[in-house]
């Protein structure tokens, strides 16, 4: 593969995010639409940093009630037990299925927290114009995009547990308010990852080289 040292933006070109066709827009600020697929052209995702920060902050706020409030309320013969996410992990652990406890712990607690930290780090490093470890940062972004969906695991577990255990008056399970906040964390961090533009990671290095 041959590579020039230029990025599309430096060459005055815009790559279509949908079909990858390169266009040379008449006006770089208003590139218009892709001639092949009709998608709106953008050299970089619109207000990428601001949108991503807003979504990360919103997700971080939801992360607290998601972990503090119960996700499941189990009623057995009149007495009710409430379980938070960590409570569910502990329950799985004490009933002997520690591999499952580990999967839920990673997917529900560590992945969302890791995503918030990783996205904040990417945003700060881009804003500070970092030119170091671009490749590693791009890889980190790819990882965030890839693992994000797995956090939805607990929402599915809760849904099917609630749907199946409706054995009134013997035993019934109801969803707690934590589920909504937890689902919100997953959805918000997924949209945040989508609104972040990984090309920004590389822009600082390009600017540096061409201004020197």
């Amino acid at each position: 593969m041959t590579a020039t040292a230029l990025t599309a933006a430096q060459a005055g070109l815009v790559s279509c995010e949908t079909c990858a066709l390169l266009s040379r827009p008449a006006d770089a600020a208003e590139p218009g639409h892709c001639r092949r697929c009709g998608a709106k052209l953008e050299s970089r995702r619109h207000h990428s940093i601001q949108y991503t920060w807003a979504l990360v902050v919103a997700a971080a706020i939801c992360y607290i009630p998601a972990n503090v409030l119960p996700v499941l309320n189990t009623t057995t013969l009149g007495s009710t037990d409430s379980d938070t996410i960590m409570g569910g992990v502990a329950l799985l652990y004490t009933t002997g299925s520690w591999p499952l406890a580990l999967i839920v712990l990673v997917a529900s607690v560590m992945v969302p927290l890791g995503k918030l930290i990783a996205l904040s780090y990417l945003l700060i490093s881009v804003q500070r114009g970092s030119i170091q470890s671009n490749r590693e940062r791009t890889r980190l972004y790819r990882l965030v995009e890839f693992i994000g969906r797995w956090s939805m695991l607990d929402v599915f577990v809760d849904t099917f547990t609630v749907a199946l255990i409706q054995l009134q008056p013997l035993m019934s399970v109801e969803p707690g308010p934590g589920v909504l906040f937890f689902a919100a964390v997953v959805v918000l961090t997924m949209i945040a990852a989508e609104s972040f533009d990984p090309r920004l990671i590389w822009d600082s290095s390009a600017r540096g080289r061409h201004h020197v």
Binding site: C19, L22, D27, L100, V104, R135, M152, T159, L164, V179
Partner: protein
Amino acid sequence: MTDPGETVACPECDLLQHLPELAPGDKARCPRCGNTLASQASEPIDVPLALTLAAAVVFIIANTASLMGLSAVGHHASTTIPGGALEMWLQGEMLTAVVVAFCAIIAPGGYILFMLTVLLAVRRPPAPHWIGELLRWADSMQPWSMSEVMILGILVALIKIAELATVVPGIGMYAVGGLVVLFTAIMITFDPREVWKRVEWTDYGAEAVR
């Protein structure tokens, strides 16, 4: 005006580069950030079309058949995917129910529907330009289509409930497992570049902007 040829910009780092001709099975990676730019499948339309048709059938089974059944002291219960979302709704968690329905039913169903339309329409070139819009919709459904997360969620729920009562996995659960395999196979064998090569260009475009 640019003649695109096979010059592309990496979608992840924007580096301009020339894509060489690829033989079936080849992959092209960006030399700067390592992103996979293109991979050449041997049958980029017909194989994914067959797989998508199979996925449509399996999707219907997955959404209608019982995921698992439970029996405890004379009680019997079973649930389906729409049944799970409905129960969440009835229990007052409407927003969560919508998220579950979207990730478990609407996104995978939409992905299958849009892909099926695109793959059928593209078989006779020149392909109509509205395919672009549909392929974009299929693309945006893909991250939200969570069959593989759901199958793990069903398994965890199954093992959790097995502590309390006897649970039996149903046909729906196996169908969700089948969907996971089919979706992966579609993504591996489908090459969107092949679709774009056959698409009729839209008129309004970057050049027309003043």
